[in-house]
Symmetry: C2
Subunit: 401 residues, 2 copies
Amino acid sequence: MVYQATVSAPVNIACIKYWGKRDTKLILPTNSSLSVTLDQDHLRSTTTSRADPSFTKDRLWLNGVEEEIKPNSRTATCITEMKRLRANLEAKNPNEPKLSQFHVHIASKNNFPTAAGLASSASGFAALVKSLATLYQLPSTPSELSLIARQGSGSACRSLFGGFVAWEMGSSPDGSDSLAIEVASREHWPEMHALICVVSDDKKGTSSTSGMQRTVETSALLQYRIKHVVPERMKLVSEAIKTRDFNTFAKITMQDSNQFHAVALDTEPPIFYMNDVSRAIISLVVEYNRVSVDAGGPIKAAYTYDAGPNAVIYTLKENAKEIIELIVKYFPQANQFRDPFGLFGENGVQGKVVDGFNTTVVKPFGIGAVKELIHTQVGDGPRVLATEEALLGDEGLPPKA
Amino acid sequence: MVYQATVSAPVNIACIKYWGKRDTKLILPTNSSLSVTLDQDHLRSTTTSRADPSFTKDRLWLNGVEEEIKPNSRTATCITEMKRLRANLEAKNPNEPKLSQFHVHIASKNNFPTAAGLASSASGFAALVKSLATLYQLPSTPSELSLIARQGSGSACRSLFGGFVAWEMGSSPDGSDSLAIEVASREHWPEMHALICVVSDDKKGTSSTSGMQRTVETSALLQYRIKHVVPERMKLVSEAIKTRDFNTFAKITMQDSNQFHAVALDTEPPIFYMNDVSRAIISLVVEYNRVSVDAGGPIKAAYTYDAGPNAVIYTLKENAKEIIELIVKYFPQANQFRDPFGLFGENGVQGKVVDGFNTTVVKPFGIGAVKELIHTQVGDGPRVLATEEALLGDEGLPPKA
């Protein structure tokens, strides 16, 4: 009997940013956050977990390379917690096989290059937890699993759901109420699209784990943000999602990206994640929205930046084409745009701006400043995959490269 | 009889930043600020003012080009206020000539290129007000004159003093207590040196006048800064200056520069003044200080940035040579370093780092990223100059170019 499960899990990009822990071991945040889950058809982590009495220890392979599971590491914590849930189930159902007593082999891979600087820890830990939950046949809800994924990587808890997801910070010291909930499903607002601009950067970044704790320790502004700004924004953006009000969604998303980078800058020494290319993309989005708003129209695009220079631009499907044309105009691409939604036909992207756009707001950059453009949309939660998708072979080991 | 006076006035660079007005007409700030006055031997505005019954209107020339004095403009306000003070004096001393009833001709120039992006409005309005005060033989103190210079350009009020200067925000709605005071003279701490790194920038900046009002209107973080952060920092940095505690001075100066740019970024749409070169200079200063602090030494340099990409690095005289070597190492210069303090001798600046410096924190830039380095020090207040320095010829007009 082979006890094995393979799942994939999505990336999520926050509109209300998570920055700061009140408990670094349990990964309890200083504020609630809210994200959009992106489509696994384009970006995903895939993980296979197997339990077997012949295994001599827990082992992990990431993108084909074995990684040591250190005692008390975040990965070890997630595996231990999942085994504990399995043991509870076995205790209630004595006929269940004692999988909780077996060691596990886990293989995981991402379908996007690590070099792209896209956070893979969220999708990675969500896939890890979901694959073990499937292997162990746990009845746990996504919110229950999010409690464990959170201890792997905070933002991973939000990747247990599709659609629009809140991570409620909770108040309990044991973290039992710091979990993800669905604000709305992908089907509620399927027109939500995202364009990821992968930005080249020479600079060695500050890791988000160490960066956010420095902010907690040194930024006076963070304390104000936590107490007085985020709670109101969580309400407003949740309401905007429920009413499909893109204008409000966009406004708050941009404000909160700005404020996250503001508190990073208010840190000692200061933390910068955006560079001149990131700044230029902001200027383009601001001008693109100005043209629409000045003509009595809505805000049509919202930029947001995580702990790196890459931009994610949220927009509605109807405006995606204009925005891709705009970005390509200022950031010429080495490779042809992959066009997963079939917007451009044979001629491909020309690179152009909308009528009334002030082209002097930004000077065009050279090829490579934006290395890649990934067009995607709001997506679903973790998927259980067929046996053929497994990343472990008959021996319970990844296939040789 | 020729009624004329020529003065020069210095530039000042704030350690605690002024950003936000509570009254835009009177230029009353939302918080107090504090600056170091730089040496007029290196950077100055020079202004000649003349009053004559034959003049048919008030006229102004900036760097040889006539500028219209618009009614109710800031320049007009300063001239009107100075004439009012003269009229008061004439009322008390009936034998004084009635200069307040004559029109004035005013010629002003800066000895630094406007293209350098160094704020000339502070030194310019200080020189304007001081030249009129001298022309009118007013008994006004520098603090009294600062009330008027403030209405020309907020930070100009701080250029009425040498040394270390606070602009007390005051509380009166009429602005009568929003003025500059001396915290310490230049002689108190003559070792305070400054290195100005003139940074090239393609981007059209946001004017500080419009930028700060957008921050007042849209940044929640600014309100916290004003109420809870600045008052404490004003006390701490004043005390650091009085005790010549460079470590504390530097720490707070860098924190406050960071926080000013943080609230600019928290503005809607966000305002960026620093670019990738500015960020790189911060990284160099942070690493340079780390080497010293890790060896049990003090903080040796403090960066600060105003509403543009230029860095000003404060340091003590004994460390200036190391810092110039460091900046030149990463930012090679087209022209030889002008060495006003004679630090380098025949071989000039080599471009090198101190022992233990992690050279990978920043990649070296090409020639021109930092266009110019200006080495200066804490300086004195406005100077009354000899007749030979006058910028107006016999006719009361600037000499033809």
